[in-house]
Amino acid sequence: MNPVHDEDIDALLRQSFDGPAPDAGFSDRVMQHVRSRRRVSSWPLVACVFAGVLMCWLSLSGSPLWRAAWQGWFAGVWSASTFVTLAAMAALSLLALGWTLAEADDH
């Protein structure tokens, strides 16, 4: 009675594997569905970023907190409104970064 070794298991597993499947027209079927790739243009992304920034600016420009934050920022004073606004911007940036990294990992 010989003990079964790792090499025996490997050899048996390899023997039980049928190997590559024969083509049998598979590649031709795949190539029928392959279409030429379109060049991805970057202008929609840039345009959307600008539109987003503009919309944010328009919606926040009437806010007293926003105005106070900018006034404090330009005057070099770290008021509560300046701090809150910057903290919110930093938090949103981190969220966007996390989302981008998660999406990149998924792809």
């Binding site: 490997d10 048996l12 590559p20 083509d23 190539m31 569905h33 392959v34 790739r37």
Partner: protein
Amino acid sequence: MTCVADSAAEARIDQALVARALLGNDRRAFEQLVRRHQGMVRAQLCRLLHGDAAAADDLAQETFLLAWRKLDQFRSEARFSTWLYRIAYACFLQMCRTKSWAARNAQDDDAMEELPMPAPAMDLRMDLTRAMQHLSTGEQTVLLHCVQLGLSHEEAAYVLSMPLGTVKTHATRGKAKLKTWLSAWQNAAGEEHVQ
């Protein structure tokens, strides 16, 4: 040594074909890549799908179409074949998330649980196949990639998106279980032979 050199040469050919496919949007270069790798990708998927060749072909087609669309994301950090296995495995997982296939697969698993363990009188190859089906899904998947498809532990970890330690654990445990079952088979077969 020759095997390593062959593997490096194959990898260089794949890289050249990828570069041609990307730079000139060359469908013929991609067709060569499909012809070179379809056999192993379909074999991988067929094993993952418990021998369902039609479903494996559908997933393999999806894999190659995805590879064509995402070819610019191939960074040559891994071999092209390993990159394809990773896409194929991701497609397989996506398919498992759909209700119909998962339900059917669960029924198959239940039926498999009811099967007796390898009987000594049966052919060793059939017993090995049956013993494999008694391993956990992780162990089966790791042994398929590491032993049958010939990937290193690191490559298997990349394909399966699994920590390297987990891959090694699954491989060791899977082989240990198979060794135990096949030793029992060998004992029983030996006794039968003596009688």
